[in-house]
Amino acid sequence: MRGRCDIVCPLLSLAALLGVGGAAWAAGADLGQAEKQATNWTAISMFAVFVVGTLFITKWAAARTKSAADFYTAGGGITGFQNGLAIAGDYMSAASFLGISAAVMVGGFDGLIYSIGFLVGWPVVTFLLAERLRNLGKFTFADVAAFRFEQTPVRVFAASGTLVVVAFYLIAQMVGAGQLIKLLFGLEYWIAVVIVGALMMVYVLFGGMTATTWVQIIKAGLLLAGASFMAFMVLYSFGFSTEAMFAKAVEIKTGIASAAGKAPGEAAAQGFAIMGPGGFIKDPISAISFGMALMFGTAGLPHILMRFFTVPNAKEARKSVLWATTWIGYFYILTFIIGFGAITFVLTNPQFLDAKGGLLGGGNMAAIHLANAVGGNIFLGFISAVAFATILAVVAGLTLSGASAVSHDLYATVFKKGHADGAMELRVSRLTTVALGIVAVALGIAFEKQNIAFMVSLAFAIAASANFPVLLMSVLWKDCTTRGAVIGGFLGLASSVLLTIVSPSVWEATLGHPKDSALFPYASPALFSMTIGFVGIWLFSVLDRSRRAAQDRAGFLNQQVRSETGIGAAGASGH
């Protein structure tokens, strides 16, 4: 697999994303290369409609984006329902749509285990963080983490945490975009990357958070509608009996196994394997560690946390997580049905298969081929356009969050010591947006042929090990100090990156060292790096006897009262 990158590995490969892969997953990743397809005009025209529509919204949003508050948080005027959809739009990436449905097609039940991991972080966000974030923060999660601490060190840490997470996430999205669009639209890789970069820059630059939010809402609506239609058509064809659908899928998998020369008993067992857990989780440590990265990573993703500042108050913040959880949970149920639909409609239809029985265009084409099977060429074009829109929406959210870390945390707070002029701060965020756009396109092109499948899981692991512990401890633990938060946070950041580098998915799969040579044998570093982060924060806070530490601890009660009552919180449009 060294240096070799097919469509699956960059954005989507669950095999390496999980590391715990096993044979079935690795096979999934080898199903095909991203070969350039014939230019698909239906898909391109539908995508053009989406682009024109969103550009009009951007124009409208641009007229409303005057202050830094408008730029970062849409003036705090988004409702809970809208924000919930936008969060779902931020979170349901092309990886989860195409990757999870493909994973279900390959492994059945195992795909479900994976999507559950992505969902269970949301209640934790709701119970422990959502309203406190809203009551303490203004534009970025650093506002919350640094609330009672010395600004400069905590902001520098938070900006580092944000930029590192955003960078890994962005690379994964850009490379995925290039591969996917080459495949779906028949465009050259670099053209696709440049289009994504340019459109994302336009949305963020002119429309700020307002345009980004609406792009995410529209994309979430389109994706949910398209996926609902596909799941409906699949269930409809089985008379709405899941048992009939499962039975057919098992029959088809059994048939494939016996065609591959398996004895009848073995083939039946292999066919039935999709109904229970398989090779997804090998050892309990990897299972728990990976579960922690997904669960707590969600609560530390800067572009998600930032969305809590776009609503007017704590009530709306809570409503938005409930809506987000509902939509995302519903979406994962749909992808599960779509995956089984792909087994029954796509794996049996030679139109979608290559000579070796693999999917045309690669393993992650399951949902795309199913769209063709249930809705014809027009619906295929629609789903392809939605997949492109999905990447755009996620990338725009990431860029906005990276830009605010630079302009609000570094420029306004660290360099200008909180005395930055609003117009100047806005200009810095726009300049940063352009810079990030160019960097993202450059990285997207540079990483075209690299195996970067580990990057999304790395982003989650860093978010869980650096951002989340600092946020949680600063908000809930009164003895936490500046020194503890900064040292512990950086320890969590460094250990999650280092342990990922020496784990099999990077050391062996990306850097090409021999098998079993990785120093760190587990799929995810989170169990260890989160522990290092939390213990670091605790230890260096407890040992901290400085004058600043006394001040940090003394500030806790004020912070607590504000975080719990909202007194003094930045108002809807007044910030």
Partner: protein, 102 residues
């Protein structure tokens, strides 16, 4: 926020009530979520055959309702918290804020 205001709120029995109720509720629900999710993961790690047990005559296994159950549970538990927080807790908060700022 000035320290007088903070002290006043901290000494308000209503605030203490809100805090106690919300902490208990929030942490119990967090614990429930952790137990359900890691229970599921440990089941996957240690008892795969159980999840692959057939329900009745067909091919549907017990893992399917359990897996979907975890998704539904996640949504329901979030809804429970939000409902109580947006009614009972917010009403209490409003009383506290009014009392403190008058």
């Amino acid at each position: 926020m000035d320290t007088d205001l903070t002290t006043r709120i901290l000494n308000n029995p209503k605030y203490q009530e809100l805090r106690a109720k919300r902490w208990a509720f929030g942490w119990w629900l967090t614990l429930a979520m952790l137990v359900v999710y890691y229970g599921f993961i440990l089941l996957v790690a240690f008892n795969k055959p159980f999840l692959a047990t057939r329900l009745g005559e067909g091919v549907t296994t017990i893992g399917m309702p359990i897996g979907l159950g975890v998704i539904v549970f996640t949504i329901v538990i979030t809804g429970l918290y939000v409902r109580r927080a947006n009614s009972e807790f917010d009403a209490l908060t409003e009383q506290i804020v009014k009392g403190a700022l008058k």
